[in-house]
Point group: C2
Chain length 194, copies 2
């Protein structure tokens, strides 16, 4: 059976989304056929709008639709919580256990994938630490996350700023994004000095 | 934390796809932010292209980008296999066990959901049955699928055309112990000679 080209093309686009395989992508493409023209137009507009309006906060690197994100603009920066990705900010915010500011690295150190400190949002972290008492490193508790934490501790501790790490209440090998709020807030409470 | 509106809007669009919940939709939206502008444009084009180029075959109701689909144009119509949705055609084609033509109803009879025969692609089925020996009803083996099969049999058998139903029983690789009792009793009722 010959595949219809436009369906195959759209499916290959859906397959670029995280966790979407060939079969799911095809299912999504079929669902688009059943949408009204208005819905497809609105879908396109939403895609373009996200690409056009969302940028990175010039202070912390999190997503924002302004120059500086709401959190950086409104919260005290005594405590800076360093995370790998924007989705991790959302996860920690959901716990309500932290009221400082964040800093998003957009990755972790990974010699295997050729990600060095220069590839991460570290320069702007160093530039914002005036008046900061504590940097909490909340990268994932895996090899790359640990390496990133150790690297940051070596960099920041000499400035006389306390560097802490979220407690390993989160099981090794799991991901922040999927941790339940209780586990995550306990991990924040029990953070230890590096 | 204030949500960024354009991200929330895009996520709500993704959540319209089958099987996509709030969390997955947000994950997809974040992935779009990380795409290049070219990729987002290509995504949009693919969405619009599917909506513009894909229509329903005037004979069988399956998806096509022409007037009549490849299967209707190239295969003998002695046997017509009736299915509920286009994805079912793909599933049967993958087996390679059928070389006749299909007819897609775009749904099944469902008094609960107010779907009557007029809402299904039945008129064009009746119009194509000249020269057909057998109609195989391959709707799902659930209440709605069964009701649709019985309805079609009553409609088509008076025309002197054989109407059959795909076999129901224990599926390959499953275990008797875990089969539900309806399936198991039907498998016993419909036992075949060895």
């Amino acid at each position: 059976m010959k595949e219809i080209k436009s369906i195959a093309v759209l499916a290959s686009r859906f397959a670029m989304l995280p966790g979407v395989g060939r079969k799911t992508a095809l299912r999504y493409a079929h669902a688009v056929i059943d949408m009204s023209e208005q819905e497809v137009d609105a879908f396109c507009d939403a895609l373009r709008d996200v690409k056009n309006s969302v940028r990175l906060c010039s202070v912390c690197g999190n997503y924002t639709d302004g120059e500086v994100c709401d959190l950086c603009a409104s919260r005290p920066s005594k405590q800076v919580c360093v995370v790998a990705y924007p989705k991790d900010v959302a996860a920690i915010e959901k716990t309500g256990a932290f009221d400082g500011v964040y800093h998003v690295l957009h990755g972790t150190l990974s010699p295997m994938n050729n990600r060095t400190p220069d590839d991460l949002n570290i320069k702007s972290l160093m530039a914002r630490l005036d008046g900061t008492d504590e940097v909490i490193v909340a990268t994932n508790p895996d090899v790359e996350g640990e390496a990133t934490a150790v690297y940051l501790a070596r960099l920041i501790k000499p400035l006389g700023i306390k560097v802490t790490r979220i407690a390993q209440g989160i099981s090794m090998g799991s991901e922040l994004e999927y941790a339940d709020s209780v586990t995550l807030s306990q991990a924040l409470d029990r953070r230890t000095s590096l």
